[in-house]
């Protein structure tokens, strides 16, 4: 993969993770924070088209490390920014899921 493709893949993951965090931030309270949810939808839209563009140029089996890392990035982000507490077995579970997604998409 070219340096630009790797950069775009990292950027798209960034939009996905922040978008998901914004959705949760908006949805977890009553009343719902509409601004956060709208921002989340906007970020996920950017992610969707960036990822679609990458998939058009590269085979999914080349993009598997990025696909696999998503669950880990989201749980780390939620821990850092939303103060979600995750027990040790949760981190192990997320690790297994990430590894599994990477293995499934790479072959």
């Amino acid at each position: 993969m070219t340096a630009i493709a790797i950069f775009l893949a990292c950027l798209s993951q960034f939009f996905l993770v922040i978008g998901q965090l914004m959705l949760r931030r908006g949805m977890r309270v009553t009343p719902v924070r509409v601004g956060s949810v709208a921002a989340g939808i906007g970020l996920l839209t950017v992610w969707f088209f960036l990822w679609l563009g990458l998939l058009a140029d590269w085979d999914l089996s080349r993009l598997f490390p990025f696909e696999g890392l998503n669950p880990v990035l989201v749980v780390v982000g939620a821990w850092l920014f939303l103060k979600e507490r995750v027990p040790l077995s949760g981190w192990i579970g997320i690790g297994l899921i990430s590894l599994g997604v990477a293995l499934v998409t790479s072959s």
Partner: protein, 132 residues
Amino acid sequence: MGLKRWFFNPFFQLGLDALLVTAAELLLKKGAMTGASLPRSIAWIGVGALASAWTWLGILAYLLSFACWLYVLRHIPVGLAFGLISIAQVLVPLGAWMFLGEAISPRRWIGIASVLCGTVLIARIVVTSSQT
């Protein structure tokens, strides 16, 4: 009343979300393959697929899955919910294996097993914490 409570259970919505995402991906794939063939100069954007009803069903499934996802995020922490929804990634190869008779490589089986083990671990945490 019982049915309503069952439908609004976050776990039911999460499962429905996973099935809808899987269905959406399969429908979009089918739409992309059966869509009108356009001149190559514009075909790369994928607009040809919009001519297929399958594509629109796929988009509808995506929109419904997003509604489920928003509901899930009201009740389950996003770090854990995102791990659980990753099960959709293994439903496609599993579905193709069960219904289309497609082969799954040993490497893929290991990946599927790994995702399922992780999902069980996460699900146990979510169930335990939602009971307290």
